[in-house]
Symmetry: C2
Subunit: 443 residues, 2 copies
């Protein structure tokens, strides 16, 4: 008989819903409190991205509860980056080797599948329930449903309520809680490329499209209805910024000049631009993640910018790691919670940093000759020494057996070696005759 | 006729009370909301330090409203550091030149004088009023008094409600609000050295006493009743830490061994240690400080650690700077608020850094030979070139005409020069014959 029986999860987003399945499967009685309406019955956008990239860490976490196949069926594989230059010319850069790809999935679709699956395991969802506070000593949540406020006691409380977590808000007023929220200067706005008149994709569907323009960029991910959701990442203020795109004229000119091939495929550009919010991009760092029997998980513990496509994957990996620790320690939460945060915090910090760094790569370096040369040399190294030289993107995206913190450390080492190679005179022509063994031995 | 008439200040601490005087003197109708009881009628400790150091920036801000003389009468001048070694030997290090000193003042005494003075100018204080939230668009505060909750509208709202500001808490949920709270690994506990049997000071009263022990320290400031308030700064965890001082035996041994001369003067050590809380030390950084017509000021905008004795002084300087900007811009708050935050933020960041750095100086370097030699060389440079070489401590503490950010920058430059000098072979004997002109020209 387990001591811990009743678990509350605050937040029915992607991570909270998946976690509820994990915990219900372990035999817990799980209640999920969500402040929004049930998205299966109501049309909710909620200001979050429409689609996102599911990769190996996320898939592994879904596999463990038997859901990977269901979800992969609704996902669109993206095998690489399709880089668009100012003249509309494209250049395809594969993400990895044959069979290594990321998946464009619908946030809402995935979330709904997870909730419905959770209910099959007996998870109870309570919508329009807002967490007003937590009594960490008593393990009680103060919940508001319309005008009614009640306190409910649980054995364990888990906050998976996102970057603006109410559970974390309650922790923030406890003593010695390290916390920072930090925004980048860029915001983003979602736009749309429709299907063709005959219902086909207007661009290559099996790629993540990027229009890198150094200080800003446009990207596009395919949707199952053969449309693309585009996202413009641009500074809020400054000479080239959202603040300057303040008329139909300036918006039109900006797209026509900088993204000519996308522009011709965006008949609703002006309406989309007007109707869709400009959202901000935050990194959340905090510690500890545990107060007594309350735990933060996912974005609530480590909100990151989207440029490595790892936000959801990291949150799903949290669920898998927590489940493994519960196995290892026979569901003794008092033991598991501190071990979880100690083990997972360095990985959360690592992916937060990698995500910030990758913005520069996406918006600037992917169009850079040295970067492309480095990719070619790395591909050769990886081919010859598949277990010793693993490109950073591969480690983060396709190798769920490598911790984020290990990937970050290995990536730094590799970059130092590559910087030296690329600074050699004549490397642009001589790279094919590089002594790979000598390079690999520098690691 | 001014457009802005009604100003709310949240928090009746030192900064809020002084600011209310400034604003009442400008002709505003000022309401101050304080969640605690009136400390003039009730005995409140509130977990904050008993006494603190008032220096030139604070005095200048008090002078401007005619209060410096009143307060200096109740202050105890401290002309330097009295450094105590492990054997109880002492070494006095003056803070500056003749006439340059800091003042030990009672937090409660000063706060009460400021409130009573404010009332003379028509400021209304509302105690036991808690700020629950701010509507930044409408300039409305939601206030709770016992069970009653009401919204009140003002022309300007100012949050001077300290490091755990409720006004800042409301800002934190607005978009793109940069925020961090960061704790050092040390906590502190206040202890007491009583007066002698005949009512005299048991140590030199005109000094700030320090027992520097590298990774921790004890300090003592004099009080008007001829006692000293001691503060032990020690890590929370680790081999030498509060967590280890868990019995009367270990506490007694720790003090007897490390602070032998203080120990003999602390008859209530064990009771004090048991009864007084161990408090944490936080640095608060945030930006912006302004949302529409609501402003953060003092610790609410820039909470710092106490090691430069500048927390209150920085907050008082905020009031003086704000008052000057109101003069300059004819009380046009819409203009003044953004200018205030832009001008003041770099200074707040600078003193936050200086305060963290000075902990290392106080607990470690003041007992270091190189540090003492540097002080001697700097004193000679300052004597010969009083306007060109101003020691960093002097700039921060005695020169209210130099901004914190300027002091930090100048201090870095000076330190680079000093590091080079101190690395010269034989400097310990040859320092008196250094070519001062050559040194000053390096600046």
């Amino acid at each position: 008989m387990k001591e811990t029986k009743n678990i509350a999860i605050v937040g029915a987003g992607l991570v909270g819903s998946l976690l509820s399945i994990y915990l219900a499967k372990r035999g817990y009685s799980v209640s999920v409190y969500e402040r929004r309406l049930d998205m299966r019955k109501h049309n909710i956008h909620g200001g979050r991205s429409i689609n996102l990239a599911l990769s190996n860490r996320g898939i592994r976490a879904l596999e463990k509860v038997g859901l990977a196949d269901v979800l992969k069926a609704n996902a669109i594989p993206m095998h690489g980056r399709m880089v668009h230059d100012e003249n509309g010319n494209t250049n395809f850069q594969p993400y990895g080797k044959e069979g290594e790809y990321i998946n464009s999935v619908s946030r809402g679709g995935l979330n709904m599948v997870l909730m419905t699956e959770a209910e099959k395991f007996g998870v109870e969802f309570y919508f329009e329930h807002r967490c007003l506070g937590i009594d960490f000593k008593e393990n009680e949540i103060t919940l508001q449903e319309y005008e009614a406020v009640k306190r409910k006691k649980f054995d364990v409380i888990i906050g998976s309520d996102g970057a603006f977590s109410a559970v974390r808000g309650a922790m923030q007023t406890t003593d010695r809680f390290e916390f920072s929220q930090s925004y980048i200067e860029h915001g983003y706005k979602e736009l749309r490329i429709p299907a063709s008149d005959t219902g086909e994709f207007l661009m290559e569907p099996h790629a993540l499209h990027i229009w890198p323009r150094e200080s800003y960029m446009l990207i596009a991910l395919p949707n199952p209805d053969n449309t693309f959701t585009c996202t413009l990442f641009l500074p809020f203020e400054g000479p080239v910024s959202f603040s300057q795109l303040n008329s139909e004229e300036t918006i039109k000119n900006f797209f026509e000049k900088n993204f000519p091939d996308a522009f011709t495929k965006m008949p609703t550009l002006l309406e989309d631009f007007r109707d869709n919010a400009t959202s901000s991009l935050v990194t959340i760092r905090c510690y500890p993640w545990v107060r007594n029997k309350t735990l933060l998980i996912g974005d609530a513990a480590h909100g990151i910018v989207p440029f490595y496509g790892q936000g959801m994957n990291a949150g799903f990996e949290d669920c898998r790691v927590l489940d493994e620790l519960l196995d290892e320690h026979q569901d003794k939460w008092k033991k598991v919670l501190p071990v979880f945060q100690e083990q997972r915090k360095p990985d959360a910090d690592a992916i937060a940093q990698l995500a910030l760094d990758n913005f520069i790569e996406m918006r600037d370096k992917v169009a850079d000759e040295d970067f492309l040369l480095q990719k070619k040399i790395e591909a050769r190294l990886h081919e010859k020494y598949p277990d010793r030289w693993i490109p950073l993107y591969t480690q983060v995206t396709f190798r769920d057996d490598i911790r984020y913190s290990e990937a970050l450390a290995a990536g730094k080492k590799q970059q130092r070696i590559m910087d030296e190679l690329l600074s050699r005179p004549g490397i642009k022509t001589s790279w094919k005759s590089l002594n790979l063994e000598e390079i690999i031995n520098k690691l």
